[in-house]
Amino acid sequence: MPEDIADVYRSTYRALVRFLYRKVWDAERAEDLAQEAFARALVHKPENARGWLFVVAANMARDEARRAARERRHLTLLKSEPETVGSSPEDEIDADTKRTQVRAALDQLTPRDREALLLWDAGMSYDEIAAQTGLARGAIGTTLARARRRLVEAYDAGIEGGQHVARG
């Protein structure tokens, strides 16, 4: 039902990109993968397109992470050049730092907690999150509570640690 997918595309594309971005941490890559997922949805015409898309996207992101890890190993063999850092405005640097901190904080969550949190943030309902993660619906609230708490604590700890280093 292409009409349905068109609707889903309009309503979900952004969320899917955001979801993927927080897994691959590369905006263009996230867009590529999201578009790829929709392209596959057009071919497969899944019943529940939204849920299907997130499952496919999560799988692609996982493959992507493995691939990236392999490539990193490969690239460490190379003589790296110093990156030419342009003069970024202060706030841009700040936003960058914060993003890095959020990423580091998310990394400290268990994969299941992180998945639930990212799916919730992408606009999935508890039912959808349960279907996707295999958790019982009644456990989603507890999972999200734990995920949120850890995220905030890890972020704050990271910021404090950073300031500590800066001071010391």
Partner: protein, 345 residues
């Protein structure tokens, strides 16, 4: 009712608590200051977590029209295999090229070229189905390439037949490392050919996006230029002035563009493993038809290194010449080198 647990509070705040439980929770919270306080805390936590996630947002860009996604783009799945395939092929090419100066003895004649296209070897049926929808920017340079590469001997023709000239020209695969290698036998046996022979094909090396920073690829791209080697005097004649270079660096070789557009390429050795290229031509020369061996850039996913190396080559006027610089260095370094360029002593 006993105190409310965190899970129920979060489900309540998320609007996901079934209505019966919601009513019970509200009733309890109304009469329990502790749980009321916790509800406030958890609400703050939910908001804070949401805020933090909001800090990790990609820049929003408009979604491409859905109909443009009709063909599943399976490129990314192919990237790594292709990267490896291309690296291997390039490494071979590098080996030949590093025979380097000996190639000075090779006549600047039409050298037979084997065009190896990695994709048909790796593409699955599914991927071939995706192939007819290459990125628009990929097809143009590719056609250019297929026109330029004109195998003239048995080996080249054989391979060309194998991959199929039609499929090569009409359905360029989405990602491929295309490399032309002069077969070893041909290197040895190449008979001196008339100067007027067809120009040697340009080797277009294209680093696979996934491993764009591969050193072999970078080096391969630099030394694989198959422009005919010329001596200083013809270069001077073509340019109408002395060729230019970075003072103090050994000139590795001087080449000319095979397209006859008057471009001269001076390659200089920066150190044992680094070569910089200075493309130069009279500033007045016709720009149209100016062909450089810069890698085709058809994928925005290409890594930074590749973009630096190919996207916008730094250029500058030195006397009557327009000079462009390329090399496996940062734009900054290239720029500094370009600033030093002056007529060769």
């Amino acid at each position: 009712m006993s105190h409310v647990d965190d899970g129920a509070l979060h489900a309540y705040l998320d609007g996901e608590l079934p209505s019966a439980e919601r009513a019970a929770l509200e009733a309890h919270v109304a009469g329990c200051p502790d749980c009321r306080a916790r509800l406030t805390e958890e609400r703050a936590l939910v908001e804070r977590a949401s805020l933090l996630l909001g800090l990790a947002q990609p820049v929003e860009r408009p979604a491409p029209p859905l109909h443009q996604l009709r063909q599943p783009r399976l490129l990314w799945r192919l990237r790594v295999p292709l990267a490896w395939a291309a690296s291997v092929v390039l490494a071979l090419g590098l080996g030949y090229s590093l025979r380097g100066p000996s190639s000075a003895a090779i006549p600047e004649a039409a050298s037979p070229v084997v065009a190896i296209d990695a994709s048909p070897l790796l593409a699955t049926e599914e991927d071939r189905a995706a192939a007819p929808a290459p990125k628009a920017t990929a097809s143009a340079p590719r056609q250019e390439l297929s026109r330029t590469n004109q195998p003239t001997d048995g080996l080249g023709a054989g391979l060309e037949t194998k991959t199929g000239p039609d499929s090569f020209a009409r359905t360029p695969p989405p990602v491929s490392g295309v490399v032309a290698i002069r077969p070893r036998a041909e290197l040895r046996n190449a008979a001196p050919a008339p100067v007027a022979a067809a120009p040697a094909p340009i080797i277009v090396t294209e680093s696979p996006p996934g491993a764009a920073a591969d050193l072999a690829v970078l080096r391969g791209r630099l030394v694989a230029t198959e422009w005919p080697i010329i001596r200083r005097e013809p270069a001077r004649r073509m340019l109408g002035s002395e060729p230019v270079g970075v003072p103090g660096l050994a000139v590795r070789v001087i080449r000319r563009s095979p397209t006859g557009d008057g471009t001269v390429l001076v390659e200089q050795q920066l150190d044992s493993s680094t070569v910089i290229q200075l493309f130069q031509r009279p500033a007045s020369a016709e720009v149209a038809g100016y062909v450089t061996p810069a890698p085709m850039r058809f994928d925005r996913r290409a890594a930074g290194v590749q973009e630096r190396a190919s996207a916008d080559r730094l250029a500058r006027f030195v006397g009557p010449l327009r000079v462009e610089i390329a090399g496996p260095l940062s734009q900054d370094s290239l720029n500094r080198l370009l600033e030093q360029v002056q007529p060769l002593p």
